[in-house]
Structure formats: C-alpha cells, structure tokens
C-alpha cells in the first residue's frame, strides 16, 4: 500500500516537475508546480515527517504559488515571454547548469555513505521534538533565517517603490483624465 502510494506520487512529482519546465503556458507551468509541491508533501508524510508535509502545502502550494499565479494573471502573460534568448546562449546555460548539478551530486554522494535508513526516533518526528530542537540547539540559525526574510521583505518594498512616489495619495478606482472629454470611465483593465 505504502509502496503503491510512493510510486504514484513520486511519478506525479517528477512528471509534473517536467511539465513545469517544458510547458509553454505560464499558467499551466505554475499549476504543475502546485502538483509537484503537493506530491512532495505526500512523500514527506510517507517518510514520517507530516509536519514538513503540512508546512510544504501551507506555505508553498497555499501561499507562494498563489502569488505567482496572481502576478501572471495580473500581467496577463499568455505565452512564454522573454524567452527570446539566442539558442547558443540557452545551450551554454544548460551545459553550465548540468555541470553544477552533477558536481553537487558528486559531492553529496562522495561525502555520505549510502545505507539503509534507520528508524526515525520519536524526537525527530513529533512536533514537540522538532520545536524544541529548533528553539534550543538551532535557535541562532532559526533567528537568522527570520532576519534574512525580514531583510528580503524590506528590500522588495524598497525596490518596488518608485523614487518620488512618496505621497500616499489614496488610490482611487476611478480616474478622470480630462473631465471635459466625457463621462468618467473606469481605468482600463487588461482583458
């Protein structure tokens, strides 16, 4: 039973992962990403880490990818745009990427000895064990990650703010460009 579930969701994760890369429509690629993340969450649960699985869905599938979709739909990207890079440039990028990936793979396998996984201890699996590990032994890295995220948020806000747009004028849904030219029309929304 567990093996069957593993096979189904592992195949789903890989398959939808390929779709994310290959599909030309950004909406389909993003929705496939959701499927990949969901399958990964199922795999986490099978590995005995239900907390990681739930957080994976809650944070990535439930929030971050929704924002991706939000931006894609807001900008109304129909087909792959900005993918007009030259063939040779793409080739170079692909080769470099493959070298980096294989190098990391090699390093990872050289340093760890492959062995059958031992049974997970209750301390690693349970929420209490995870929480006490995070807030005692790994408190400093945990706090630093929090700080890093805060810096990222502030950075994004600063980068998104145009210079000179300091005044916080109330954003109105209706703009009258020239009152004499006719009735007040809603600002055009991209179809």
């Amino acid at each position: 039973m567990e093996t069957l579930i593993f096979v189904i969701f592992a195949a789903l994760a890989v398959g939808s992962g390929v779709v994310v890369v290959v599909h030309r429509s950004p909406i389909y690629a993003t929705l496939s990403l959701v499927l990949t993340l969901f399958s990964m969450a199922v795999l986490f649960v099978l590995l005995g880490a239900p907390f990681v699985g739930a957080v994976q869905i809650l944070v990535y599938a439930g929030a971050i990818v929704v924002l991706f979709l939000f931006v894609i739909m807001l900008l109304n990207v129909q087909q792959e745009e900005g993918a007009h890079a030259r063939r040779s440039a793409q080739l170079v990028a692909a080769i470099l990427g493959a070298i980096v990936f294989l190098g990391m793979f090699w390093l990872a396998f050289r340093q760890t000895t492959l062995r059958a996984p031992g049974p997970l201890t209750e301390e690693l699996v349970s929420l209490k064990g995870l929480a006490s590990a995070l807030f005692t032994d790994y408190l400093l890295p945990f706090e630093i990650v929090g700080l890093l995220l805060l810096v990222a948020v502030i950075g994004a806000t600063v980068a998104a703010r145009r210079p000179g747009a300091e005044t916080n004028a109330p954003q109105d849904d209706y703009v009258a460009e020239d009152p004499s030219s006719g009735p007040v029309l809603p600002r055009e929304v991209r179809s």
Partner: protein, 344 residues
C-alpha cells in the same frame, strides 16, 4: 477487508452525510432568511413554506443544458468546479464529532483522522481552495471572471494570515495541534471564546473573507462583475461551485465551533462513551454549525459590500495586528499561569 478501515469509512460517511446536505438546506435557509430580513415571503410555492425548493433547484440544475463556451481553456475549465469541493470534503476528516466511544468491544475516537498535525493540516488543505477560483477565472477567457479570480487570490492570501494567527493563539494553552485535545481542553477549562474573544472575532471576520461571503464577496460582486469567477459556468458545473461555497462555510464553521465553542461538547455535561454519546456529540456539533451558518446568512443580508481597498486595509492594517496582539496576549497569559495548559 481490514476492520479498522471499515470503522474509518463509517466515520467518514457520517461526516460526509452532514456536509453533503449543507448546500440543499442552506438554499432554503438563505432564501427564506433573505425574505425574513427584507420583509417579503421568500420561496413559498414548492411544498409547505417552500421546503421543497432545494429539490426543484437541484432538478433544474440537472436538466439545464450544459454549455461550454467556445474559447475556454478546456482542461482547466472542467477541473475547476470539481476542485471547489475538494477542501471541504477533505478537511472534514479532522473535525472531531463525539467522545471516544466503545462499541462492541472496540474503542475508537470519533474523528476520522486524529493526525498529530491536525489544525495545521486543516489550514494547509483549505488554503488549496483558492486554486479552484483562480483556475475557473483564468480558464473562462472572460475579463469579469479574470478580475474576479485575481481578487480572490489576493483576498484569500491576505485573510489567511489573520485566520492562521488567530488559530495559533488557541493552540498555545492547549499545547497540541490535535483538535481532539482542543475539545478536551475546553471541556476542562471552559470555552475558548471567553478568554480569547479577540481571536474569536478575528477568526469570524476572516472566515467571511475566506469563504467569499458578503460583506467580502468581491470575487463574485454581482453588481460589478456579473458573477465573478463563475460567470461562464452554468447548470451542474455552477451547482458544484455553489455546493463548494456552502461546504467550505460549513467546514470553517465546524473548525470555529471546535476551536472556540467547545466542538461537540457542552459545558457541564458529559456524554456517555457509547453510541448514545456519539449521536449526542454529532447533534451538538451540527447544531453549532447550524448556528454559525445562520450567522453567515444574517450578516449577508444585513451588511453592504466592502470596497476592494477597504477590504485590503481591514485585512492588513486591522485584523492582522489584532490577531498578533491576541497571540502575544494569550502567550503572556499562559506563561503567567492565568490560562492553564492542558498537560502541564
């Protein structure tokens, strides 16, 4: 077949029966309620006081022509309404609906899955509900649908934060993510809605936004967007969205009842640990869900719709800070020993 599996299936069937009947009953309650509030009769032609109206509506949905517009994105258009039902009918496995009972020498807690990550899993699965709306809006190839689903995605993410933080505050004194422990805590120390009145309020308001109900139904907003994300849907496919909306309301009502109003338990009353206790527990939970649904209807026909910028301001500048204040307050009270932990 494995006997544990059979017990689980029976428990799921009970909760499924409750949730699947929510939409037909709510059709009647919503329209009669609207009539009551607006001083008019409401549906009163089909059956006594219009009681068979849901039946007539269901027949109408089934026999209507199922039109698929020409230029829709076919796969996404077809999947979206089905996905609308997914969160509610998955999360109901986490709601406890009675005490631990012993029937025929077998002891079982009355919850389909008593997962260690309980509430977290509930929030995770219900956060996937937004994809149904987004897919429907995008696939319909209609600007009203698209605006509706863009609104939906921004709104759901904004209010999910406040909702999650208010839920988190409940879990601090309980010391567990399991909803059964939340109920056990309230049996011992009284309902959470009293010490956590702020969190309860935040949860209530965020629940309205999460289920796209008035005064926060901007993804539909019939006066500006026709019907929002489901403009291009008709017949049974529309009925699925309809059913999905009411099922999600019921699921969030059940979560709210469990977190803040004692779940299946009543104060000072201990249900017996047998079938009678199971029936009483289920009836108590259903009654609490029904009261919450009545509040949904009452609010819908009482308040006008928010403007979009007001909605965002309320979510980010009022609800989220309030939820965080509540979180800190509850944490402080727990540390100070005013709120006692379940298992010290």
């Amino acid at each position: 077949m494995n006997s544990d599996l059979i017990v689980t299936l029976i428990k799921y069937a009970v909760m499924f029966a409750v949730f699947i009947n929510v939409a037909p009953i709510m059709v009647w309650v919503e329209r009669r309620g609207a009539g009551l509030i607006q001083d008019r009769p409401g549906p009163n032609r089909v059956g006594p006081i219009g009681l068979f109206q849901p039946l007539a509506d269901a027949l109408k949905f089934m026999f209507k022509e199922d039109v698929t517009p020409a230029l829709v994105d076919k796969p996404l258009y077809l999947i979206a309404p089905v996905l609308a039902l997914m969160p509610a009918f998955t999360t109901l496995v986490l709601i406890p609906f009675g005490p631990t009972i012993t029937v025929g020498g077998r002891t079982t807690p009355l919850v389909v899955t008593n997962a260690d990550t309980g509430v977290l899993l509930f929030l995770a699965i219900s956060s996937l509900g937004v994809y149904s709306l987004v897919m429907a809006g995008y696939a319909s190839n209609n600007k009203f649908s698209l605006i509706g689903s863009i609104r939906a995605s921004a709104q759901l993410i904004s209010y999910e934060l406040a909702l999650t933080v208010s839920v988190l505050a409940v879990l601090i004194p309980v010391n567990s993510f399991r909803l059964t422990d939340v109920v056990a805590y309230q049996q011992r120390y009284g309902w959470n809605c009293l010490p956590q009145i702020l969190g309860c309020l935040v949860f209530l308001i965020a629940a309205f936004a999460e289920t796209n109900r008035l005064p926060f139904d901007l993804p539909e907003a019939e006066s500006e967007l026709i019907a929002g994300f489901h403009t291009e849907y008709g017949a049974m496919r529309f009925a699925l969205f309809f059913q999905g909306e009411y099922s999600n309301m019921a699921a969030l009502s059940a979560l709210g009842a469990t977190l803040f109003f004692g779940g299946w338990s009543l104060p000072f009353i201990h249900y017996p640990h047998n079938l009678l206790g199971a029936v009483l527990g289920l009836l108590t939970l259903v009654a609490k869900i029904a009261i919450a649904m009545a509040v949904f209807v009452w609010v819908r026909w009482t308040f006008p719709r928010f403007r979009y910028d007001q909605l965002m301001r309320l979510g980010w500048k009022f609800l989220l800070p309030l939820a965080i204040v509540n979180l800190i307050l509850v944490a402080a009270l727990t540390v100070a020993g005013v709120l006692k932990p379940l298992n010290p």
